[in-house]
């Protein structure tokens, strides 16, 4: 069922129901120009480039690269120290285990099952 439309936009001629104070548009340009700031905008004025402004980007880049370099170096240093410590620990464990096992194998005259239980208990 079609609903009746009380107000049809396309059937009405657009009309601007607003008005302005008398003489408003006649004086508008003058009023706007009078309200503009006194100081002229710096249009097309070249910026003075100081030596510091010129070298600043290079210094910042160098500082950034140095920072990255030291971070990587620090990270690699920590990693290699950890590896060395890990290796030393592994090596020590291996040497200890071999000696321990050898002494058992040569002197104790025990079978594999006893060897296994002895090693488990010793750890």
């Amino acid at each position: 069922m079609n609903k009746e439309v009380k107000y049809k936009i396309d059937e009405r001629e657009p009309r601007r129901p607003f008005s302005v104070p008398e003489g408003y548009f006649e004086n508008l340009t003058q009023n706007i120009m009078a309200a503009l700031p006194e100081q002229e905008p710096l249009y097309s004025t070249s910026i003075v480039v100081t030596p510091w402004m010129r070298i600043r980007p290079y210094l910042y880049s160098a500082a950034a690269f140095a920072g990255i370099f030291f971070c990587i170096k620090a990270a690699v240093g920590i990693s290699s120290t950890n590896n060395q410590a890990g290796m030393a620990q592994t090596q020590e464990t291996t040497i200890y285990s071999d000696e321990y096992i050898d002494s058992f194998l040569e002197t104790a005259m025990i079978d594999d099952c006893t060897l296994y239980y002895t090693l488990v208990e010793s750890n």
Partner: protein
């Protein structure tokens, strides 16, 4: 003197006096159409006048940023649109525009007491219906309906596709008609 955009752009690069004269030409050429664009959004003459002044002050102080890639009118319209939306957002946060609560005036009531509104009851209701639309939809409706702008022009100003603008206008019309159907 007829408005010559090419010459105006040249003058904006010249000395201070030429620049000021060029800007005066811009103000003379665009102030009235910008005023109406703003007025349809904010309704009050005083608010529209303030926003228009701010628009031109902003344009003048930011003349450096206008590189001439778009037309002067497009640049000015964009500033005016931003200023208007900023104003409406501030107003929304401080003054209740329309409410049923006792003691606060609706848009139709405000317009009735406005000495610079000369519309009848239906036109007051139309303004109230338009005020219920989301800001961008309201802007599209006003530009198309009252200012009779082409969709291509609106598209350039608002950065929205012509198809989306047509859809937005169509939805706005439906909402306004629906608003009138629900009166009484």
């Amino acid at each position: 003197m007829a408005y010559d955009e090419k010459r105006i752009l040249e003058m904006l690069h010249e000395d201070d006096i030429s620049r000021r004269r060029a800007f005066e030409s811009i103000v003379r050429n665009f102030s009235e159409q910008l005023y109406w664009q703003i007025r349809h959004m904010v309704l009050s003459h005083d608010d529209a006048n303030d926003i228009l002044q701010n628009t031109f002050i902003k344009a003048w102080t930011n003349l450096d940023s206008f590189m001439g890639y778009s037309r002067i009118s497009t640049w000015l319209y964009r500033i005016a649109i931003n200023e208007t939306l900023t104003f409406l957002n501030k107003q929304k946060n401080t003054v209740p525009i329309e409410t049923d609560e006792e003691g606060e005036m609706s848009i139709a009531e405000r317009l009735e007491s406005d000495p610079y509104f000369d519309g009848d009851l239906t036109e007051r209701q139309l303004q109230e219906a338009i005020a219920t639309l989301p800001e961008k939809q309201r802007m599209v409706f006003n530009m198309k309906y009252f200012n009779e702008m082409k969709y291509e022009e609106i598209s350039e100003l608002l950065g929205t596709s012509v198809g989306a603008l047509k859809a937005s206008f169509h939805i706005a019309v439906k909402k306004i008609e629906e608003y009138f159907n629900n009166i009484d």
